[in-house]
């Protein structure tokens, strides 16, 4: 049966309108839930990096309340000064990837700190960088000496399944725990990722981690992004380290 052109136009218009209506209402009603998921996922990974999250089987409410109780957040600039955020923006809203496009002086670097009472237990910063195929997203947590690695997580990546995607595995991440990012002369040297298991008599053992076998490019990516992102915070970390060593001297006197 042949139909007129008008019928065809009317038909396709109706179909399009119905489908568009369906999709926009779905997007509207599910938006809150989806945003909560993204937010919880981010907070969960910060908690994981600072070792406040032992199992994955905890509810969204528990994650949010644990985050609110234990974590404080603020932002610093490239000189290492704590800055006021523009109206209406929280630290959690800062997208470190977008900050990299801005001129250096305008960039905001988020810092998440774990506190117990007045003391800071751990500092956590976002780490982002390219692997072999994809951009990898994670968090790095440092102990209160700003030198020892407390934990590292990667929560989003598209590396080769089974090889590069091992960056998400606990086995790989656990290798970083206890490693140091500063050398004795107060230079920020980050972590060196080797192709082989570091030998136990290596003088730099505390800065070395074995990469993932079969995933050289991904391992290099992790090494580069750690150095890149630690450098962003170098000024801020130096200030903190200097002020804390001064404090020690005065308290000794």
């Amino acid at each position: 049966m042949r139909r007129s052109n008008l019928y065809t136009f009317v038909f396709i218009t109706i179909v399009t309108i119905i489908c568009a209506g369906l999709l926009s209402s779905a997007a509207y009603y599910l938006k809150d839930k989806q945003q909560t998921n993204v937010e919880v996922d981010m907070k969960k990974n910060i908690l994981k990096a600072v070792k406040l999250l032992e199992s994955n089987k905890i509810s969204q409410q528990e994650i949010l309340s644990s985050y609110n109780q234990n974590i404080e957040s603020y932002a610093v600039n490239c000189l290492g000064e704590i800055i006021e955020l523009p109206e209406g923006i929280s630290v959690e809203d800062i997208d470190p990837e977008k900050e990299e496009i801005k001129p250096e002086s305008e960039r905001m670097y988020p810092v998440y700190v774990k506190k117990s009472g007045m003391d800071v237990d751990a500092y956590c910063i976002p780490i982002i960088g390219k692997g072999l195929w994809s951009t990898m997203y994670g968090y790095l947590a440092l102990e209160s000496d700003l030198n020892t690695i407390l934990g590292i997580t990667f929560y989003k990546q598209g590396e080769t399944p089974g090889l590069g995607s091992e960056v998400e595995s606990k086995k790989f991440q656990d290798k970083f725990i206890g490693k140091k990012i500063w050398d004795e002369n107060n230079n920020l040297i980050s972590i060196n990722i080797l192709k082989i298991e570091p030998s136990s008599d290596s003088p730099d053992l505390i800065h070395e981690v074995a990469g993932i076998s079969g995933a050289t490019k991904t391992s290099e990516g992790v090494m580069n992004l750690l150095l890149k992102d630690l450098n962003k915070y170098e000024n801020y970390f130096r200030r903190l380290r200097e002020s804390s060593s001064k404090k020690e001297i005065t308290s000794n006197v």
């Binding site: 038909f11 396709i12 999709l23 089974g162 090889l163």
Partner: protein
Amino acid sequence: MSNKKTFFEPFVHNNPVTVQILGICSTLAVTTQLKPSLVMGIAVTVIIVFSNLIISLIRNMIPKKIRIIVEMIIIATMVILVDQILRAYLFDVSKQLSVFVGLIITNCIVLGRLEGFALINKAVPSILDGLGNGIGYSLILVAVGAFREIFGSGTLLGFSVIPQSLYNAGYENNGLLVLAPGAFFLLGLIVWFQRAITKQYEEE
């Protein structure tokens, strides 16, 4: 064709993956582990069933000239809906499946069923056809996914299934199986195995 035959035919004798060789891309891509394979199978089944139903209901109204466009609109709408729902309620799995949910739009099985069946059949047989084909697709996905996870990563649904003593004795996970070529070999073996049993061959 009877309803029963419509439903069961795609399980083996007319399986969309192993006989029609459709939907290969997703069969290779998402089957590194069992969980994403399962979710992908369910998502595709839901999408085929609903697209089949809708197209079958409006089949006499669709102008022939633009039927492919209409089919694509329906499929795309269904896929985006499923993607949105996964993001809201199964966030971890949707992160794992990432772009492959969106790519269900390009899965030939869906368009194939609409063109080949729903356009010329009533609603109930169309639902059965969609269910049958979805399950046929899922069966292959689950088989490949389970095999690859057990022998590629030594786990099943995330739990270790290969005992540590075997690793201590020198057993290693098969690295090939976690990569796409491993899935290709496996799929080829399944097709071979199936045809050897059913004696159903391509004609010369």
